[in-house]
């Protein structure tokens, strides 16, 4: 196949930050007013570009935290050695401008017509696009059965905790805490390994549609376990988050 050189189309636009909400100690949800936003689907992301006064630029991708039709928001986890996330979570304020490009993604998306049953498996900040999917499911009144397994280090790291606890109407949410559990913890402990997935996941015979999101190592371990449970790879969609 060929080689080509293409001048990039001008698809960056400038948004205004409407709110910065604390989700957990290291995590913020940033509400955005995007003048020419074409609308988005659950599961999509957008790219953010920061420009320093001296012209230095940095770009990163962040999943959209809201359902189709809701105002655009991203949820960002501060990484200690990050280049962009410390700025977005600690410096950015309502009224600031943010350059962004999106919505992006045609694979890791869910709409009600895609059906289910849905299996959503999140590691850490991988919960963001899956929460958008659950919000979309609720807003559309979909009755597609859904199960979420959400792996976090500690209870304090669980993002959207109270919102997820209120899920009902065909949504079953399970948490696993990998590093420490509070006294009286009734959820799961330890990694989302094959044994835990085997307990939670839909039987393969129900032809579930799966979305797995989180750090690369998490996604690959979970995807491998699901394939071993008989899930066809084509019905397991993955999105890997990296570091900085």
């Amino acid at each position: 196949m060929a080689t080509a050189a293409v001048r990039g189309r001008l698809i960056w636009q400038t948004a205004t930050v409407t709110s910065v909400t604390t989700e957990t100690d290291a995590v913020r949800t940033i509400g955005l007013d995007v003048p020419d936003w074409p609308g988005h689907q659950a599961g999509q992301h957008l790219d953010v570009r920061l420009t320093a006064e001296d012209g230095y630029t940095a770009e990163r991708s962040y999943s959209i935290a809201t359902a189709a039709g809701e105002p655009v928001a991203i949820t960002v986890e501060r990484l200690d050695d990050g280049e962009v996330s410390p700025y977005l979570t600690e410096e950015l304020r309502a009224g600031d401008q943010l350059e962004l490009r999106g919505p992006i993604g045609g694979w890791f998306v869910w709409d009600t017509s895609d059906g289910g049953p849905l299996l959503l498996v999140a590691g850490g900040s991988g919960i963001v696009p899956l929460r958008a999917i659950l919000r979309h499911r609720q807003r559309t009144g979909s009755d597609v059965p859904a199960r979420l397994l959400y792996s976090s280090r500690t209870l304090a790291d669980v993002i959207y905790h109270s919102e997820l606890d209120q899920c009902r109407d065909g949504v079953e949410v399970s948490y696993t805490l990998t590093r420490s559990q509070p006294p009286g913890w009734t959820g799961y402990s330890g990694r989302a390994d094959a044994a835990l997935l085997g307990k939670i996941a839909w039987p393969a015979g129900q032809h579930p549609l799966t979305f797995v999101c989180g750090p690369t190592s998490f996604v690959e371990a979970v995807a491998g376990s699901l394939v071993a449970l008989g899930y066809p790879a084509g019905r397991v969609k993955t999105e890997r988050f990296g570091g900085t």
Binding site: M1, G8, S61, I104, W107, T216, T238, E239, G242, G243
Partner: protein
């Protein structure tokens, strides 16, 4: 460095191709494996972007952004199909 997947270059490919490419099917020219772009192995900012086949590890695509131009080499793929007749 931790590898990502083709979702992470969705924006870059949107700029280059003018449409979402994460759902486009690739065929690896080395091993013949088919996969959506979203499921390929991606190394970012290396300085350029290197996209590899998840099955055999061969390079599928390289994107180098040079002086505002995106230079795309697709020679590692024998097909890239958006399924839209174009």
């Amino acid at each position: 460095m931790v590898a990502l997947d083709g979702n992470s270059i969705g924006g870059l490919l949107l700029e280059v191709f003018g449409t979402d490419m994460t759902a486009a099917q690739t065929i690896c020219a080395t091993c013949g494996a088919a996969a959506p772009v979203a499921e390929t192995v991606v190394y970012l900012r290396v300085p350029g972007t290197v996209v590899r086949c998840r099955t055999c590890g061969s390079v599928l695509m390289i994107i180098a952004q040079i002086r505002g131009m995106s230079c795309v080499d697709l020679s590692g793929m024998s097909a890239l199909d958006t399924g839209q007749g174009g």
